[in-house]
Amino acid sequence: MSITASPPDRIAGASRRSGTLYIGDPGMWSWVAHRITGVLTFFFLFVHVLDTALVRVSPEVYDEVINTYKTPFVGLLEVGLVGAVLYHALNGIRVMLVDFWGKGPRYQRPMLWAIVGVWLLVMIPSAVIMFTHIFGGSPA
């Protein structure tokens, strides 16, 4: 009257379940943000290499393309770019310290809060300056 174990293939069907969010350590979310900012920066670099390469094709076309960037929308993207690069750089230093400094793993959380602090300290004035440029109508 015993219930026999399910065949292995049936068990495999339920493996690798999804659907529950793992509320991990802040370190996990710093890693997620590191990935996202890294990919975003890569996309920027990709476009940046392309538009800069245009100079060699035709300086006039290059000027034309660069002129299309002078809109508030691209300005917002630039603020985002500064934020992404800054986070990626700061967290990169943190990751290196975790890797190479013996006490790094112990202080990973304080280091995360520290880089978040530095990020805010740099981003707030930068964003103010950039927004005044974007919406202040300063000459290009």
Binding site: R17, Y22, P26, M28, F100, P105
Partner: protein, 261 residues
């Protein structure tokens, strides 16, 4: 005897559970899966009485004893030593026998819901019961035993307190799989050795009496070895024994990098 009939109509009537004085009603939401009936896991909720001093394991045992005997989960010692009852409780890996209800209570006047799911990354066989074999396979792969060459000494293998201290932290592992199944890299790619295997390799690599460090380092230098670690620290956070898991992995990485044990 009527197992099939019972599971078909899952009862969630918890009135039979003894409710001692001072107990409150909490909702226990469990991700259930019966491979013989379900194609997908589904959530099942149980309103059960609980004392603030109860552990999550007590609630699970009550549900199994009084509400639905088909609820499956592992537990053995129930005192945080055997490492059987690792599960995802409120979104983080914990031993059900070490989590007190009072630490999970919702802010006053709100209904407390405790969410319990099986640990991630290992095949679910039934309810909270997972196939641990891939986990133990990775554990065995790092040769977690003393390796020595040459003649046996005629007396004990002497070790200084300072040498013992180097791997003291990693001797605490109880192989509950909380760390390995909290690792995003392990969820995405089951071929990664996982934190627990590296912790147990660390325990011997840094043991002055052991001579197998080279072999283990070769194994862990593999593409699926320590270099897959992205230092997310989920493992350190999950470890019920308080092992600094990420630190141990980093020590193995540095030993590989600088050829120094």
């Amino acid at each position: 005897m009527t197992a099939a009939a019972d599971t078909a109509t899952t009862s969630t009537d918890a009135s039979d559970i003894p409710a001692p004085e001072g107990s409150i009603t909490v909702t226990v939401k469990i991700l259930r899966f019966n491979p013989e009936l379900d194609s997908e896991p589904h959530w099942e909720s149980y309103d059960v009485p609980a004392l603030p001093t109860d552990r999550v394991l007590n609630l699970l045992i009550n549900i199994k004893s009084y509400v639905d005997g088909t609820l499956s989960f592992r537990r053995s010692c129930a005192h945080g030593i055997c490492g059987s009852d690792a599960m995802q409780i409120n979104g983080i890996n914990r031993l059900a026998c070490k989590v007190l209800i009072k630490d999970l209570l919702a802010k006053k006047d709100k209904q407390t819901t405790i969410t319990i799911a099986p640990i991630k990354g290992l095949p679910v066989m039934k309810d909270l019961y997972v196939d641990m074999e891939p986990f133990f396979e990775a554990f065995r792969a790092v040769k977690p035993y003393l390796i020595t060459y040459g003649n046996e000494p005629t007396r004990e293998r002497i070790q200084s307190a300072a040498d013992r201290e180097r791997f003291d932290d990693t001797t605490k592992c109880i192989l509950c799989a909380c760390c390995t199944t909290s690792c995003p890299v392990y969820w995405a790619d089951g071929s990664y050795f996982g934190p627990a295997a590296i912790v147990n390799a660390h325990r011997f690599i840094f043991d002055s009496r052991d001579e197998g460090a080279e072999e283990r380092m070769d194994i862990l230098n593999d593409a699926e070895g320590v270099w897959r670690c992205r230092t997310t620290f989920n493992c350190t956070d999950a470890c019920p024994r308080g092992i600094q898991v990420t630190k141990a992995i980093q020590e193995v990485k540095r030993a590989l990098l600088f050829k120094r044990v």
